[in-house]
Amino acid sequence: MSYIVEMLHITKDFPGIRANDDITLQIEEKSIHALLGENGAGKSTLMSILFGLYQPDSGSIRVRGKEVKISDPNVATSLGIGMVHQHFKLVHNFTVTENIILGMEPHKGPVIDIRSAEKKVEEISKLYGLAVDPRAKIEDISVSMQQRVEILKMLFRDAEILIFDEPTAVLTPQEIHELMQIMRRLVEEGKTILLITHKLKEIKEVADVCTVLRRGKLVGTVSVADTDEERMAEMMVGRQVSFHVEKGPAKPGEELLRIENLNVKNVKGLLGVKNLSLSVRAGEVLGLCGIDGNGQTELVQAITGLTKIESGKIFLRNINIANLPIKERTDLGLGHIPEDRQKHGLVLDFTLGENFVIHNYYEKPFANYGILNKKAILENAERLIREFDVRSGQGAMTPARAMSGGNQQKAIVAREIDRSPDVFIVVQPTRGLDVGAIEYIHKRIIAERDRGKAILLVSLELDEIMDVSDRIAVIYNGEIVGIVDAAATTENELGLMMSGALRKTHAAPQAVHV
């Protein structure tokens, strides 16, 4: 069998970091080849080089046996290489067709021939089983639909080699399954697929060959059929890992957070959270899972006060905080690890020390009569850095911007846990982190639970939800469609609820879970 793509001895440097170090990757035609590695292992960089977004500092690329120089995405396209990006590159207020034809518009004279374009889109989508409405606007269609548009973009350009960059991060288990079928269909039609992922299960399900990267270096290429998940995990992380979170049984106590009939509008002015009720008790982790965009953000922002509610009540202990300012909620014992650490969690241009006091900079000992006490701020920072092992170049004086994502997240976790809130809203705490940091943060969350705190864990990672939570609530279309015991549920059951296909009446919150 011949190699359709060969990347030989690729090296790529970014300021301060070698993203790819002498990596060789050879891909057989009409196969699904997985590229496995943790965040920051260099997978995306390598694929961006293949797609012409970056130039390698050394090494060569061969396509169909011929050496090529891929200087920009146009060259990649002309070589039949297409890419589905992790963050979809779609123009939100363009139609499906406009997005697909962009840069290659069929035209009659000077005018875009939108009719014939729509027809061609329809034809291709039928051929590969990718149902979409060519006239719909991107902002009006679902995430999995948007992903199909991304795939159609490549097929419209007659791509033969399709790169999928972490394609399943935003999909339900059922949608993931559908995507896998689409991939197989594509291979049957003669395409070659490169799948970038850090999820072993998917590789096992669909890939033929797997290449593992770690910290910019090639670890090895294995046949998927002959290698078990544990072995691949070890190759990825560099040591034996247990993906199971160590924790004892929960000892739930009194109800600390209770939400009653909550309604919240989303940015479009529609109800993003509909008549939602939920409660979290001391000493338990309630996981909230759902597909992105089903009301999680609105719910969290309503609890934490970042957005106004339409109606309903939110009780912290027995105080209705639904209409209190953020500050007062914080003072009453609400903690929040925000979804977006760079947008909400940190002021990137502040130093680490300044970021640690963002909630209480005006209180003693950090300030006196409105004047900052820099010494106290520094000491506080040094204590947290020690206690939580936050690594940074210049200690407390490091600008947050100069820290790695994992350490930024650790800094936020340190700051929030140090305040010891009774009710802790934890959103996507491990997104983009490596296995070590994930383990650490999970351990700290469990530790807080065992200290009797009520924790609401919101995550898009189903594994995280299932591993850390005691109970799991599923949100679909702004409503809780079921609450299940984490130990008793299955991925399949959760998936069906996440897609709205299954409803489970609320497991009584009073019931004791062991």
């Binding site: 590159k89 962009l102 290659m104 875009i112």
Partner: protein, 317 residues
């Protein structure tokens, strides 16, 4: 206010509308491609200075001097806007700061050149700017004829034509689709092989052309020479028109007419019974005040290009 007075206001209002519409359309190209252009004021100044200067220098040799003036103003606007393009596209400057710098630069540069060329702080006065004319036939239509076709500056028709051309280019052609993609989501455009920098250069240079033309139109219809205060904020008013017009050519047309009339009102206020008692300053303030009020009216509903003003870094990981 009598109907007669309203009819009289039309030619004046349309005269003021034309440069606002042209310049705002320029801003539309720039912002749709993703570059905020508050340098429109400065671009208009450069266009106005060049237009007036060329007219003065040519008027003894050709009767069409003012038309050469318009063309020169357009070209000067293009050249001047290159600075904004280089700064904000190649050198990743903050677009608002770059625009501000160009506005200051335009004031200094034009008067400096006046001193070099004319040895005074302003250009020499030209004897003939763009001439009004009446459209044969159409100007005899009752009411409408007097509104739009009698004693009208042809520059107004140029502005109207530009509205349609802009609409066609932006919404109907591949060029327009690509340009808008760069203003909404440059990474998406780049991933489809579109050269974002090139598209943005196009947007900024067209804004230079139309802004320069707008400046030249303004000085050659509403003034007798170029001075430091010839443009007096019209570039900013154009920017505001772009916002009210929701970045849409026909919206821009409406907003431009609105501001044209509000300016004309200050000239006719003394003839309007219930306005005549107010001091002149009130009417000078009016367009600016209306801008703020209109901004409030549209608050929160802004639908500008998403990526306008963001520095686009193709190497961003």
């Amino acid at each position: 206010m009598t109907f007669e007075l309203l009819l009289q206001m039309f030619p004046i209002a349309l005269m003021f509308s034309a440069p606002i519409i042209l310049t705002a359309l320029g801003g539309l190209f720039s912002e749709r491609s993703g570059i905020v252009n508050i340098a429109l004021e400065g671009i208009m100044m450069v266009g106005a200075f060049t237009g007036a200067t060329v007219t003065v220098l040519l008027e003894n040799s050709t009767p069409a001097a003012a038309w050469y003036g318009l063309l020169a103003g357009l070209l000067a606007g293009v050249v001047f806007s290159i600075l904004h393009a280089v700064a904000s596209i190649n050198l990743k400057a903050d677009q608002v700061i770059s625009g501000t710098a160009l506005n200051i630069l335009a004031g200094g540069l034009t008067v400096y050149l006046c001193q070099i060329i004319f040895h005074q702080q302003r250009t020499r006065a030209f004897s003939n700017g763009i001439q009004k004319f009446s459209v044969p036939g159409l100007s005899d239509i009752p009411v409408l004829g007097r509104m739009f076709f009698k004693e009208i500056y042809p520059t107004f028709y140029i502005a109207i034509a530009m509205v349609f051309i802009t609409w066609f280019v932006v919404y109907k052609t591949p060029l327009g689709l690509r340009m808008r993609a760069c203003g909404e989501h440059p990474q998406a455009a780049a991933s489809m092989g579109i050269n974002v920098a090139k598209m943005r250069y196009f947007g900024v240079l067209v804004s230079g052309a139309l802004g320069g033309l707008g400046g030249a139109v303004m000085v050659l219809t509403a003034d007798i020479q170029y001075t430091l205060v010839s443009i007096h904020g019209t570039g900013f008013i154009s920017l505001a028109s772009l916002v009210f017009g929701k970045w849409n050519p026909f919206g821009v047309l409406g907003a431009g007419l609105f501001f044209g009339f509000s300016t004309a009102l200050s000239f006719y206020a003394k003839d309007i019974k219930f306005l005549a008692g107010l001091p002149g300053e009130f009417f000078y303030i009016l367009p600016y005040l209306l801008t703020i009020i209109a901004l409030l009216f549209f608050a929160g509903k802004s639908v500008g290009p998403k990526a306008a003003g963001e520095i686009y870094d193709s190497g961003k990981r």
